[in-house]
């Protein structure tokens, strides 16, 4: 492992000079962050377009020739996988993690900048491999993002030759990339904090990213093992996951394996993965609410504990995805109990967000709007989780549109709203300009209301029992005619929401040149990233000497202080203590 220890010498702040080392082969965490975000956005757009295709088929069946059963399943699979792994995980950890960790803890860079750079290039490679799987013979895999064997590697599933192999290779490369990045994030938070920055003075954003990264480092190996084993089954003809079966009229050579073993491995990764995209979101939202309500986050310590407890518990709930998978049903008791225990720290987080608003001085800025929309959406998604976690209630609902509605609310829309809010919030730091307000508001209202209209009614389709991952509902008598009308309406909402994202993308580029100029701390926030000597921060972040931290990140509206915020770098005044 090659690394530089951070020694605070002036030399360090002389950045790389050529264009190539500055913007392409850069080891600067801010550049790498933006590379991550750009790549994630690009591949995320593909996933968005795929969701339109799916909605075309569901809303207006038999109208579009280019969508057949095979391609529909390919869209479902690629959409799900890209959104969860290549967009959200990469955006939160590779993007925000990279940008914010060194700035917020007061470091000059990540502790292993070279490894950090490699991490991005491996990520890019994994994205390219993934994207190329659309173009190989047979096309991308259509096994569902869960990739359950045996069907993922057997004829009868689209892309069961090259598609699945490329998917597995891409995931393996992604995991390598993530591990390289993750080592950085964790060690930087643990060891590169500047003077005075104790763990308990960290903003919650860092706590969320930090715990999520540790979870990723421990959970991704499960996917890695499962992926390699499946690759063996596919390429070498082993039978890790495949029992004796006949397929398409032929007895296959396989025998003795267990499909359930893969499901356990997958969900041992998959459930923590849900929280890997949720926890950074939790952290960021806490900070957005606090800054824009001009109030300290309510119950900081409980928020930290909740993050840690959720992180730990999420390793012992995985089989709630397998209640009707055919595993020993007695496990249902255990996993239902652990799952509903997680509801408690999660609920406390929601209460604390709302209680932070209470007695605040709420500025309805764009980041605040997104944060409010997040809380609202997350409450819906979290509550529907109580249906699915409660094992017997899950029975009729599992694999229906209720599940689709639930996970889109809780791990699709909610984290995406945080991503947007965070971009509006930190954009002035990264570019020196504000994003355009009008476009921002259009984007916000359409996205917030639109996604709610898309996913809220879907719960009710789930109550009917309408199954998910269905190419067609043709000829199913138990589905009322009206449900098809509803599906068409949902599809239209989905197109409108998609179009609003184009406004956002345009705004992103337009504002770089045309946005209103912002000073170094336009939101008047306390945390360290707003205290850099230059905006945007230059290589080395802090100029000649590292900053010193004197207080936590939430000194807003202190009694007896005229300004309604006191940055972390301001020393404690005489007698300030007595006021608390």
């Amino acid at each position: 492992m090659v690394s530089t220890n951070i020694e605070d010498s002036e030399l360090d702040s002389h950045g790389p000079q050529t264009f190539l080392t500055k913007y392409v082969w850069s080891q600067d965490h801010k550049v790498i962050a933006i590379q991550y975000m750009g790549t994630a956005t690009a591949i995320g757009l593909v996933a968005l377009v795929l969701s339109w295709f799916m909605r075309l088929q569901i809303g207006f069946p038999d109208t579009f020739d280019f969508i057949d059963s095979e391609s529909y399943y390919q869209y479902v699979t690629m959409h799900g996988m890209i959104m969860v792994i290549y967009l959200l995980t990469a955006f939160f950890l590779g993007g925000f993690g990279n940008y914010l960790i060194p700035l917020m803890v007061g470091a000059r860079d990540m502790v292993f900048p070279y490894l950090n750079m490699l991490s991005y290039w491996f990520y890019l490679l994994s994205v390219i491999i993934l994207a190329s799987s659309f173009f190989v013979p047979g096309g991308a895999t259509g096994a569902g993002w869960t990739l359950y064997p045996p069907q993922s590697i057997l004829e009868g599933t689209p892309g069961s030759d090259w598609g699945i192999i490329l998917m597995l290779v891409s995931l393996i490369v992604f995991i390598i990339a993530f591990t390289m990045g993750g080592l950085n994030y964790v060690i930087t938070v643990l060891q590169a904090r500047t003077e005075g920055m104790t763990m308990m003075r960290l903003p919650l954003t860092i706590w969320g990213i930090f715990v999520a990264t540790i979870m990723g480092l421990l959970a991704f190996p499960a996917l890695f093992v499962g992926g390699v084993m499946m690759m063996f089954d596919k390429v070498l003809g082993t039978s890790f996951f495949i029992p004796a079966i006949v397929s398409m009229g032929e007895s296959l050579e396989y025998g003795g394996g267990s499909p359930l073993l893969f499901q356990h491995l997958f969900w041992f990764f998959g459930h923590p993965e849900v929280y890997i995209v949720a926890l950074p979101g939790f952290g960021i939202v806490s900070d957005l609410i606090s800054v824009h309500a001009r109030k300290n986050i309510f119950g900081y310590r409980q928020m930290v504990w909740a993050i840690v407890i959720i992180g730990a518990l999420s390793f012992i709930v995985w089989a709630h995805h397998m209640y009707v998978s055919g595993m020993d049903p007695a496990f249902g008791f255990f996993f239902a109990i652990t799952t509903l225990i997680i509801a408690l720290p999660t609920a406390i987080k929601v209460y604390n967000w709302v209680l932070t608003l209470w007695r605040g001085n709420i500025h309805f800025t764009l980041p605040m709007l997104f944060a409010i929309a997040f809380v609202f959406t997350f409450v819906v998604g979290g509550l529907t989780g109580l249906f699915l976690g409660n094992v017997v209630v899950d029975v009729p609902l599992s694999d229906t549109y209720f599940v689709v509605a639930h996970f889109h609310m809780v791990m699709g829309v909610a984290p995406v709203l945080v991503v947007f809010g965070a971009i509006y919030h930190w954009y002035p730091k990264a570019t020196g300009r504000m994003m355009n307000q009008t476009m921002g508001h259009i984007h916000f209202w359409v996205t917030f209301i639109g996604t709610y209209l898309i996913f809220f009614p879907m719960h009710f389709l789930g109550f009917v029992g309408i199954p998910r991952r269905y190419f067609t509902f043709d000829g199913l008598d138990f589905i009322p005619e009206s449900a098809l009308t509803l599906n068409a309406a949902i599809s239209i909402a989905a197109f409108v929401v998609g179009a609003a994202q184009m406004v956002f993308l345009f705004n992103l580029f337009w504002s770089i040149r045309n946005g209103k100029k912002a000073d170094g701390n336009p939101w008047r926030a306390t945390s360290m990233e707003w205290q850099t000597p230059q905006t945007p921060p230059v290589h080395g972040n802090w100029g000649a000497s590292l900053p010193v931290v004197h207080r936590w990140a939430y000194d807003y509206s202190l009694p007896g202080v005229e300004e309604d915020f006191v940055p972390q770098t301001i020393p404690v005044a005489e007698g300030e203590m007595d006021e608390r």
Binding site: S69, G142, P150, L154, G156, T157, P158, P243, A244, I245, V246, S247, M248, S251, P259, L260, R294, K295, G299, S325, G326, P329, A330, G332, A336, I337, A343, L344, A347, L355, L357, W358, R359, G360, N361, I362, F364, I372, F376, V379, L386, F387, V392, P396, L397, D399, W445, F448, Y452, P457, F460, V464, G465, P467, R469, Y470, T472, F473, S557, R580
Partner: protein, 276 residues
């Protein structure tokens, strides 16, 4: 400010939608009304929490919006409040979970008087088997599926009276508890009849089960609820719940394994004679 109005409107929309929505559970046809009850109860409880939290948030947004003289409080934490909220939440969660676990226990405990019926899935169709008079299934081997009907082993005497239904329609007797024994010969599937509420995956290599008691006659669709390849959404079957008389009529028409084997042999003999 608009956000407050919108949140209130979305709450109203959600509540109204829940009441007027024509999309709700299909009429139940099995003895799992407890599940419906729990589902409805959970909907009420979570619905109430949703309305309370959202409206409280809207109120907070309204009351503490930015204004000239307004200044936020400094309030790091309030242990008592957090404790009260945590306890209240725990009570709510336990209230939902405890009955859930009781019903789950019932779901996985098959009553002694349940008759067994086997459903076998393959890409992308269903077939069924009844144990016949001896109440026992004969052994099967997946690899023999193309050798003998259903892959039932010829050497196991328990198999000869098994009734093989190589058709996508299964009949069940009204009021008779059945244990559905599930097998797959290729990939994962899931046996799901929305009216029965119950479902379970079919997993190649192992045998899974669930049980129901049909409570209403009629014809219900069996759908597959686990992605199983391109034909997943076309993998349909039917369950017909009959009164005793119709059920027996249907049963009389079905053929046993021994009969099928005999027929096949005759066919082969005929075929051999014809081609001579």
């Amino acid at each position: 400010m608009i956000i407050i109005v919108i949140i209130v409107l979305l709450v109203i929309f959600s509540v109204v939608f829940s009441f007027v929505s024509p999309w709700t559970y299909v009429p139940i046809a099995a003895d799992w009304s407890e599940i419906d009850l729990l589902l409805t109860a959970t909907l009420w409880i979570t619905g109430a929490v949703f309305v309370a939290v959202s409206l409280f948030m809207a109120y907070a947004l309204y009351k503490y919006r930015q204004s000239a003289g307004n200044r936020a409080d400094f309030e790091p934490e309030n242990k008592r409040l957090e404790l009260i909220l945590a306890v209240a939440t725990s009570v709510g969660v336990i209230a939902m979970l405890a009955p859930g676990l009781v019903v789950w226990n019932k779901y996985i405990t098959v009553p002694d008087d349940a008759k067994i019926v086997e459903a076998v899935g393959q890409q992308w169709s269903w077939a069924f088997r009844l144990p016949g008079e001896d109440g026992e299934f004969g052994l099967v081997s997946t690899h023999d599926i193309y050798e003998t009907p259903f892959g039932v082993s010829a050497s196991d005497p328990a198999g000869s009276d098994d009734i093989i239904i190589d058709d996508n329609e299964l009949h069940l007797l009204l009021g008779q508890p059945v244990k559905m024994v599930l097998r797959s010969i290729d990939v994962l599937h899931n046996f799901y009849v929305p009216q029965f509420r119950a479902k379970m995956d079919l997993v190649p290599g192992i045998v899974t089960y669930f049980w129901i008691t049909p409570t209403r006659t009629g014809t219900f669709e069996i759908i597959c609820a686990e992605l199983c390849g391109v034909g997943h959404s076309q993998m349909r079957g039917y369950v017909v719940v009959d009164e005793k008389k119709e059920y027996n009529e249907w049963l009389a028409e079905q053929e046993t394994y021994a009969k099928l084997v005999a027929n096949e042999r005759n066919d082969n003999v005929e075929y051999a004679q014809n081609s001579e």
